[in-house]
């Protein structure tokens, strides 16, 4: 098949999708109400809350299972997800995580916000931002595993169901971040 080169109107190019003008984000209270509705729908229909770090854990277990399957069977924490022939990705939370990626991508595309960029404070280089994002990622998921849930699984979901431990985790997250914020202000200001 030959392509028609003499198309009269401008040919659609995939990259145009990613170069549209960015629209501003929604009103935060509206966003909050919508997020609350999604959270409620999740509990109402499935009995489960929302989560994110569980999906990450299982993906990490999946990678380790590919590289060192024998090692998995020696680490009790990974054993529960990926021991023997068990597939760590066969879990509802992995499906939710996949949905999060598709949903985020779609909304970003529709509103012109899906574009390759690095968001950072004005006084640091991109490389510094990447390094701290990497370190922050290590710390956050390590803490999330220790506390058995992150901002979504503990603070948001447990907060709405009035779990005492989740409110404690929520205050610890915000407390830790506020306590450290002053000392790393150069990262963001």
């Amino acid at each position: 098949m030959k392509k028609n080169i003499n198309t009269p109107r401008k040919k659609f190019q995939l990259k145009d999708l990613f170069n549209r003008p960015s629209q501003p984000y929604a009103n935060p209270y509206l966003g909050g109400v919508l997020l609350g509705l999604v959270l409620f729908a999740s509990y109402f229909i499935t009995g489960n809350g929302l989560g994110a770090s569980g999906g990450l854990s299982r993906f990490a277990a999946f990678i380790e299972d590919l590289i060192a399957p024998g090692h998995i069977d020696q680490v009790p924490y990974l054993l529960s997800m990926a021991g023997g022939r068990r597939n760590p990705l066969d879990s509802w939370i992995v499906i939710v995580t996949t949905g999060v990626l598709i949903g985020g991508f779609s909304s970003g595309l529709i509103h012109g916000r899906t574009k390759i960029e690095t968001n950072k404070g004005p006084n640091i280089s991109k490389q510094t931002r990447w390094l701290f994002a990497f370190i922050g990622g290590i710390l956050f998921t390590y803490g999330a595993r220790l506390a058995r849930g992150c901002t979504s699984g503990q603070a948001l979901s447990g907060g709405a169901t009035l779990s005492a431990g989740s409110w404690l985790v929520m205050f610890s997250i915000f407390g830790g971040a506020y306590a450290l914020a002053y000392f790393v202000r150069r990262l963001w200001n």
Binding site: G36, S42, G47, S53, G103, N119, I135, L146, A147, G158
Partner: protein, 411 residues
């Protein structure tokens, strides 16, 4: 019957069930994106009081979610006992939370928001996710060295209602008021540190806050369903089951269940402590009816192959406990047919008559056996020899695998 949450595993095939979860995840990601959670400077600037967008989204979502959950529970649409409530681990939660806080301010994301950032091609989001995978790896390698700390200070399904000993409606009002106050205070801080004028934000947010507070008050007025309310809803369905004696287990079936290692047998002896000390079945747990409400959460959280058998001297008291447990949505609860008296009639031979005590006449729910001493489970009839008995009975125990979710979003 309280219709929600649905038990998706028994309603839908696996692909369809996963489609539901995919849709929920899609909406979650979509809403996070339109709220600006993929933009790390917005996430970080809340910690400098400059732009509290993320803080506002977050607490609004918690309050809206909470109000809808407790409103639907109050009107009997949603069973709060069957939704996943994160268990409380005191110290690992606090330390883990503080570490997360450090990761938050250094990395500018949390796991959910970093995924949305990655999905919208933010390079810093990608690095956070990579770090996140390393963090999981490091946790798996190190947690064994402090598993005592990780698994210690466990309080089970502990709610704010339990901690403050207040009804759910009161807690709901307090949380709503606190959130509204925090959001108002956040706007004042933004005014000082971020040069933002709260007067420019839409007035609709005041009406919104008013609606939330009114809803909270309505929830408190209606109140959460009591065990009696729950039983009233259940009675049309279960009264017939009682009439047909569907949950009364023959002593022979219970004896066979002792030796069925596929089942996790839990025996609840609801008699007085004195009767329990005189005689009880081996491994039966003493749990008088007044202790049942506090035990419901633990019973619901038991493994899926758990079978609970309630027993009293006869059947009346055990049946009342069975009603309470069924009303609270505890699955797989049965009653020992004829109670302990029938058990002794079945298994106490001449030897027991001589060694343990002797039969006497007694009224309903009185022990019809006079024991020589408080033998507990030392009387041989507490654990009869399985090989000596063979009974014909109608099998009543059917394992119903419909249980509350056993893991949250972060398992």
């Amino acid at each position: 019957m309280i219709p929600f949450p649905l038990h998706l595993e028994s309603l839908l095939s696996k692909p369809l069930m996963y489609l539901v979860f995919l849709l929920i995840g899609f909406l979650f990601g979509y809403v996070l994106e339109i709220s600006g959670f993929n933009h790390s400077p917005s996430l970080a600037s809340q910690f400098y009081f400059k732009d509290l967008r993320v803080f506002k989204v977050f607490f609004t979502a918690i309050v809206v979610g909470m109000l809808l959950i407790f409103a639907s529970s109050a009107v009997g649409l949603l069973d709060y006992n069957l939704i996943w409530v994160n268990p409380t681990y005191l110290w690992s939660g606090i330390v883990g939370g503080l570490i997360m806080g450090a990761g938050f301010i250094l990395g500018g994301f949390c796991p959910g928001t970093s995924l949305v950032a990655l999905a919208t091609l933010k390079i810093d989001g990608g690095f956070f996710v990579l770090g996140g995978l390393v963090g999981v790896f490091l946790f798996g390698e190190t947690v064994d060295s402090y598993s005592y700390f990780f698994n210690g200070s466990y309080y089970g399904r502990l709610t704010l209602m339990d901690v403050f000993n207040l009804p759910a409606g009161t807690i709901v009002i307090l949380v709503t008021l606190m959130a509204v106050f925090m959001l108002w205070g956040g706007e004042q801080l933004e005014k000082v540190y971020g040069n933002k004028d709260p007067a420019k934000a839409p007035k609709a947010r005041y009406y919104g806050a008013g609606v939330l507070v009114l809803l909270a008050v309505a929830i408190a007025i209606i109140g959460q369903p009591t065990t009696a309310d729950r039983w009233a809803r259940l009675e049309p369905v279960r009264a017939e089951a009682i009439a047909k004696r569907e949950m009364y287990v023959h002593p022979g079936e219970l004896l066979d269940t002792f030796h069925d290692h596929k089942l996790n047998l839990v025996m609840l002896d609801v008699r007085s402590e004195a009767d329990y000390n005189l005689f009880h079945l081996l491994d039966a747990v003493h749990m008088p009816p007044e202790e049942i409400p506090a035990a419901v959460n633990d019973l619901i959280a038991m493994p899926a192959n758990t079978v609970i058998i309630v027993m009293s001297n006869d059947e009346t008291a055990a049946t009342e406990v069975w009603k309470a447990l069924s009303a609270q949505a505890v699955p797989n609860v049965y009653i020992l047919s004829g109670g302990i008296n029938n058990w002794l009639d079945t298994f106490a031979t001449d030897f027991e008559e001589g060694f343990c005590g002797e039969r006497i006449k007694a009224e309903d729910e009185q022990l019809r056996f006079e024991f020589e001493a408080a033998l507990g489970s030392n009387c041989p009839a507490a654990y009869p020899d399985h090989d000596q008995y063979h009974f014909e009975y109608d099998k009543k125990i059917q394992l119903e695998l419909k249980r509350a979710p056993v893991g949250g979003g972060c398992g």
